[in-house]
């Protein structure tokens, strides 16, 4: 290349230009470097705390350590709710060489249908971060675990993990009393302390499990771990061990509960038994029951729908939520109300022509015995379950005093200390009717209430606890389910207990008891067949709750009615009279008369509790019942 003509180079000038430019470059270098230094100073000095925190958050993960849920025992130490290890199949994708091969092998080993491969593939993707095990299958069988163990070397990344699951050995019998735990749902999650429940997947949904959730749950522990960017745990930095939940000892007696369940024999009904002087609930059964274990892992839709749509309402806890007209079972309580208010004395009598009429009213309120019981005093009124006596008594008391006195026995309110989901029942009053129907109270309605019909509705638990208070000579003790929480006994005296019921003459209690004893043992007693061969003094009262009302002067034949339109059979009882150890309420829906269809069940319960060695088998009781069904006598 030829040198261009005018390129007479001027080295001096070129050097000068370069030096100027180089100096400028130095300046630029200094400026840019200061920029970097400024930025580094900002990050490392000014914002150091922020980034330190960020870095710690990256590195340290706090893993919750869920506590083991407390166990539940009956009063004799029989296990009612335990934590059973179940085995889940999990998979860590990062450690699996060939996912398709592995899943195919798993399905083959576990002897599952081919279609499961797809389900496994879906589940293997369900996780929040890398290296998190994905749950493929829960509740593996022993054989499946063994097969997996043998082939372990072929299955890197596949693990069998143990998890404790709630298990109820006597699920059907205990379902309503114990309740059950289930997976925490979104709604519950909002109200929970996130710290305490961080690692917990289950929460008490109903019953004892729910009421004593706090005690049973325990305190969560923590594990601080260092993880790398892929979430792999590298080491443990610190640990707070969880505090397991307290074991709960209930007042329930497992064998009595089982007996009650068998006595009800799959019918719709409920039996509640209480120790009168302590309020300890010995049995609280609602039938039909259901398998509460299904609810622990999550019940499938079809089974749940089947339970919900079952006409017998197995999920409904009749013992605490069933509303039944008490029928004649409340006659002893009304007699006591009359005694307290001075409306009657034990010796005052009425003459029963077979019906009662309000002054200036032609309507006849019938005794169940058409031709009447003639002269009736208090004891006889209870023994023969005379209606006319109680029409008179109710009318004389008036609805206001009747409401007050019956409320004193716990009717129309929640009575128990620790029963979750208890209903109040309904004790009608003027105010209630005004609020409910905007109508005045009519005198005729008082008469209905006087024989336990009309608006009055009780729960089996209320009936049993009122019976207990009666057996206790008016001393009220709150019914309870928990005997001990951990090692701590539940105090005998509980707050908000109802005031005691006091009679002018303490002997009058014995007169009422005598009337109740005659129900079972008297020659005229409505349940005298049940009283045959009693080895102790037992007081009781039958009741028959009409499911639908009859018109005036109508009689009906139970057998002609559809089964579900038949009367509910009720019976309340306590024994022994001298020193009551058990109070029972029995309700069998649509069974018919209480003296025939409920009294035997109450007797079987008291026998079982009082004559421990000679407890009758449920089968025997059933036979007796069948012999008796023909007789529809009394209510």
């Amino acid at each position: 290349m030829p040198q261009r003509r005018d390129t007479l180079k001027n080295p001096e000038q070129e050097l000068r230009i370069f030096r100027v430019r180089a100096l400028l470059a130095v300046l630029v270098v200094i400026v840019l470097t200061s920029l970097l230094v400024g930025r580094l100073g900002y990050l490392q000095i000014v914002q150091h705390d922020l980034y330190s925190t960020r870095s710690e958050k990256n590195r340290v993960r706090v893993e919750p350590l869920p506590p083991n849920r407390g166990l539940i025992y009956d009063r004799n130490g029989a296990l009612l709710a335990e934590n059973r290890p179940t085995y889940n199949l999990t998979l860590v994708r990062e450690r699996v060489d060939d996912l398709d091969d592995t899943l195919a092998l798993l399905v083959d080993l576990l002897e599952l249908p081919e279609e499961e491969i797809e389900a496994f593939q879906v589940r293997s993707r369900q996780r929040q971060r890398p290296f998190q095990p994905a749950l493929l299958m829960s509740d593996l069988s022993e054989e499946q675990i063994a097969r997996l163990a043998v082939n372990r070397h072929l299955l890197p990344g596949v693990e069998v993990e143990a998890q404790l699951l709630r298990y109820y050995p006597d699920a059907e019998v205990m379902a309503h009393a114990l309740g059950y735990v289930g997976r925490i749902n979104a709604e519950e999650l909002q109200d929970l302390d996130p710290g305490r429940y961080a690692g917990t997947h289950f929460i008490g949904k109903t019953g004892v499990e729910r009421f004593y959730e706090t005690e049973l749950h325990g305190e969560a522990g923590l594990r601080k771990v260092e993880t790398n960017a892929r979430g792999r745990v590298l080491r443990e930095l610190g640990r707070t061990d969880p505090v397991p939940g307290a074991n709960l000892t209930l007042t329930l007696d497992r064998s009595l509960q089982m007996l009650a369940y068998e006595l009800l024999d799959g019918r719709r009904g409920s039996i509640v038994a209480i120790v009168p002087n302590t309020g300890e609930i010995l049995a609280m059964v609602s039938t039909p029951g259901f398998d509460s274990n299904q609810f622990v892992t999550g019940i499938d839709v079809a089974s749940y729908r089947a339970l919900q749509e079952d006409i017998d309402l197995p999920l409904f806890n009749r013992a605490i939520r069933g509303h039944y007209p008490p029928g004649s079972t409340i006659k002893p309580f009304l007699a006591l109300a009359g005694l307290v208010e001075g409306v009657i004395t034990p010796d005052s009598t009425i003459n029963d022509p077979g019906f009662y009429q309000l002054p200036n009213d032609s309507r006849r309120y019938r005794n169940w015995l058409r031709w009447g019981h003639g002269r009736v005093d208090m004891e006889r009124s209870i023994a023969v379950s005379n209606n006319t006596y109680y029409y008179t008594l109710a009318h004389d008391l008036g609805i206001d005093k009747l409401h007050e006195r019956m409320s004193n026995f716990g009717f129309g309110q929640r009575v128990a200390h620790d029963v979750q989901g208890e209903s109040t029942g309904l004790m009608p009053s003027r105010d209630w009717k005004r609020a409910r129907f905007n109508q005045p109270w009519y005198p005729g309605e008082t008469l209905s209430v006087g024989i336990g019909q009309g608006y009055w509705q009780v729960t089996p638990l209320q009936l049993a606890s009122a019976t207990a208070a009666l057996a206790n000579r008016g001393h009220w003790v709150k019914p309870r389910l928990a005997l001990r929480i951990g090692e701590e006994p539940v105090p005998a005296e509980l707050p908000d207990t109802l005031p005691d019921i006091q009679l002018a003459n303490d002997n009058w209690w014995d007169r009422v008891y005598s009337g109740m004893e005659k129900v079972l043992s008297g020659s005229e007693g409505t349940a005298r067949r049940t009283g045959v061969g009693l080895e102790y003094r037992m007081g009781g009262k039958s009741g028959t709750a009409q499911v639908f009302s009859l018109g005036q002067d109508q009689r009906y034949n139970a057998e002609e009615l559809e089964e579900r339109l038949r009367d509910h059979a009720l019976f309340m009882a306590f024994a022994p009279i001298e020193e009551p150890k058990i109070a029972v309420s029995v309700i069998v829906e649509n069974a018919g008369g209480g003296s025939t269809h409920a009294a035997h069940l109450a007797r079987a319960m008291t026998d079982a509790w009082l004559l421990e060695d000679e407890a009758p088998e449920a089968e025997e009781v059933k036979e007796v019942l069948e012999e008796d069904t023909a007789n529809v006598e009394g209510n």
């Binding site: 930025r39 990050l43 490392q44 914002q47 870095s55 990256n58 590195r59 960017a229």
Partner: protein, 386 residues
């Protein structure tokens, strides 16, 4: 030949002793054509780099050894290159430039695809390299050689020629696509023009045109490149995706504080939160484990190298040497600035390694080759009369 004319004219300068009138004896360093100061600082930098690399590689000594071997090869290359006279480079400039262009075209046709871009040329089993890497030296070399022939400051016609020399390889590199390298190639060459005395008016004009051309650039960018820019503007918009790198690297640096967490103690680095921790993001490891103090020491070392390099460049006797040496050393600084800037979050993420610290052979070889030329330019100067 013009080149020979130039070299001959250079040789015409008489060699005279600087002060005492006695013929000066060349020192050992002058005889092996190396600058002891620059060499010393480079060795300190590489040594320190290996220490950081050990930590950044997850304490894998084999990585460190592999890097040390590369340093060894690159240093040998530097020493060899330093033995050539600058006139050799001047002579070879058109050839190197032409060969580089040919290979860039070859990449377009038969190049290996890596990371979604055609960058690599491979003779299987023999060698695999990026021609664009070579162009980082070849393009500024060519520009310096061209401007050496012109009267400076360059006139418009010369500048147009320079623009063509620069533009063709830069565009070829950019469409690979490798925007980062193409920008580095361009800046190395543009620095030559700037040092040659490009008029301020033109600088202003080009800057304005560049600003106006940004939207065009944006339109022609690949999605991942746009994503990088967007992420730079707001890393938290995609904290687990493209924002992850910058969030983790600023966290690493910031959590280091003044003194750092200590060597091998950086949790961001050791627990793999920091991505590309032993390559492009290695300075975050230094920032985390050695703190601001470590960062300032490193920056000081870099600035001293740049300062020494500029000094050597300006003491060069001919325009070619000055321009090329200046470009080499200022490009070196740009590497440092861009890398530290991107890792600390003031520049978008472009794939620029930290010179002589990041793991990787190619860039070390290129850089040390550049320093070899720089030393050659310095050591082969003739002593001029004042």
């Amino acid at each position: 030949m013009p080149w020979q004319l130039i070299t001959r004219s250079l040789r015409r300068y008489p060699v005279r002793p600087p002060d005492s009138g006695i013929a000066r004896r060349k020192s050992i360093w002058e005889r092996i054509h190396l600058d002891p100061w620059l060499l010393g600082m480079l060795l300190v930098l590489m040594g320190g780099g290996l220490v950081v690399l050990y930590s950044a590689s997850g304490q894998r000594i084999d990585t460190v050894i592999a890097q040390a071997i590369r340093f060894g090869i690159a240093l040998s290359g530097m020493v060899i290159i330093a033995q050539f006279s600058p006139s050799t480079f001047l002579r070879w400039a058109p050839l190197a430039y032409g060969a580089g262009l040919a290979m860039l075209l070859a990449v377009e046709v038969v190049g290996d695809v890596g990371m979604g871009a055609k960058r690599w040329l491979e003779i299987p089993g023999v060698i695999r390299f990026q021609p664009s890497e070579m162009m980082k030296l070849a393009v500024p070399l060519m520009v310096a050689a061209y401007l050496n022939r012109c009267q400076l400051p360059p006139r418009l016609r010369d500048i147009v020629v320079c623009a063509v020399i620069i533009g063709v390889p830069v565009v070829l590199t950019a469409i690979q696509p490798d925007l980062g390298t193409s920008l580095l190639v361009a800046s190395a060459a543009v620095i030559v023009v700037l040092l040659a005395g490009l008029s301020w008016k033109l600088i202003g004009l080009v800057a304005a045109l560049g600003a106006a051309g940004l939207p065009v650039l944006w339109m022609n960018m690949h999605n991942y490149q746009r994503q990088r820019v967007l992420t730079f503007l707001d890393p938290d918009s995609d904290p687990l995706g493209s924002g992850w790198n910058i969030i983790q690297s600023t966290t690493a640096i910031g959590s280091g504080g003044l003194w750092g967490k200590g060597w091998l103690e950086g949790t961001q680095s050791q627990l793999e939160f920091l991505p590309e921790r032993h390559t492009d993001f290695i300075i975050a490891v230094l920032g985390e484990e050695f703190g601001l103090v470590g960062m300032l020491l490193l920056l000081t070392l870099y600035i001293m190298i740049v300062g020494r390099g500029l000094w050597l460049a300006s003491s060069s006797q001919d325009t070619f040497g000055r321009l090329f040496a200046g470009s080499i050393i200022l490009t070196f600084f740009i590497y440092v600035f861009v890398n530290v800037g991107m890792v600390s979050g003031i520049l978008p993420v472009v794939g620029v390694p930290l010179p002589l610290v990041s793991y990787g052979g190619t860039s070390s070889v290129t850089l040390l080759a550049g320093f070899g030329i720089l030393m050659s330019i310095h050591a082969h100067r003739r002593l001029l009369p004042r």
